[in-house]
Amino acid sequence: MERDDLKLLWKELNPDNSCIDEIKIKNAMNMKHSKRISEILSGRKKEMLVYGSVFIVFIALMIYAFIILRISFSFFPVFLFSFLGMFLFFKTTHAISTFTVLSKESENSVISDSVKLFSKMLKRIQLIDFIVNVIFFYTLAVILIIVFLNEIKMANKLNIIVPIISVIFSLFLIPWLIKWLHSKRYKRFYSKLKNSIDDVEEAH
């Protein structure tokens, strides 16, 4: 096949005789999204609301138990609660960031610009997500260290090395953990975009 035959082939494939019913256009004009896109968005919205509500209830219960009722648990149950809190927090922020990305619509600028804008928006969401995660995880680490210190203080086994090691360990481990979680979370978001960004960058 010759190179110019592609255009002829394309014309044969797409004869210009398609027509559309006026009712079909009018129906579309009254809709916000098509059925499939609405399904995608409402599915993510439900996920976000369910995880968000469970997380809020969890936090409220924790505040009630630890701050209002002043119940003192030993380190192990607190560690388990923290683990559950981390899981709910991770799921909630994941649902929020996915919904935010999905609900954004690209600008009607030239294609290369909208690819760049989308990539910029994604980076901004990722940064906010990262900051929120850092704050949450460090707060959790501080709580765990305090509970741990109280426990060994009560047992009269206070040793300065243990808290120092815990703090250093948390300082280094938390950003690494968040980075690892993020690479998993955003991998899918970027993989489809990567080829388009490469195309744009290669041309500049």
């Binding site: 096949m1 190179r3 592609l6 255009k7 082939l9 394309w10 044969e12 494939l13 797409n14 210009d16 005789n17 398609s18 027509c19 559309i20 006026e22 079909k24 256009i25 009018k26 129906n27 579309a28 004009m29 809709m31 916000k32 999204h33 098509s34 059925k35 499939r36 896109i37 995608i40 996915t98 990305v101 999905l102 619509e105 690209s106 600008e107 009607n108 600028s109 030239v110 294609i111 290369s112 610009d113 909208s114 690819v115 989308f118 899918r188 978001f189 993989s191 489809k192 975009l193 080829n195 388009s196 490469d198 195309d199 744009v200 041309a203």
Partner: protein, 161 residues
């Protein structure tokens, strides 16, 4: 405004179909995505300035919408993409399809932006017009079009063998 929009869409409906065929050819939700493009066109119709041809504006909005939809689909947890190996098997299964169908199948190998460029080229747009829609320089478009033509012919050639 409604009547004007309906008239313009009816006159240029083929463009939306071609975009859907390029981006969602074997997608079970192709009809839904066609409707989504129509919805976005209506939402953004007030931004259409009559200095440019309606078809050029339509390409711009519809291509942006199609790429947006693909991203939405891809971010879905249940989205499953064929691996290269699976895709080759699928191509072999369709080995008996004619040359025309092979062109569509070959286009599926291209990236989102490449698909947009080749569509506009096949539709007879000049490099300058393609450059205005895609946002890359005319020279870049020229280079890309040539490269894409070779790539498509190579894929179609391989499919025949």
């Amino acid at each position: 405004m409604e009547k004007e929009f309906i008239k313009l869409i009816q006159a240029n409906n083929g463009i939306i179909h071609k975009i859907c065929n390029i981006y969602f050819r074997d997608n079970p939700y192709k009809e839904d995505y066609y409707q989504e493009i129509l919805i976005r066109l209506w939402k953004t119709f007030p931004t259409y300035k009559k200095q440019a041809a309606f078809s050029t504006w339509l390409y711009l909005v519809a291509l942006n919408t199609a790429i947006d939809i693909l991203r939405k689909e891809y971010i879905q947890p249940e989205y499953i993409e064929l691996t290269d190996k699976q895709y080759n098997v699928a191509l072999e299964d369709h080995g008996k399809v004619d040359e025309k169908e092979q062109l569509y199948q070959a286009i599926q190998y291209l990236s989102d932006i490449e698909k947009a460029i080749i569509l506009l080229y096949l539709e007879g747009y000049s490099y300058k017009e393609i450059s205005n829609i895609i946002g890359l320089s005319e020279n870049n478009i020229g280079v890309k079009v040539n490269r894409l033509k070779y790539k498509l012919l190579e894929i179609i050639g391989d499919g025949k063998r």
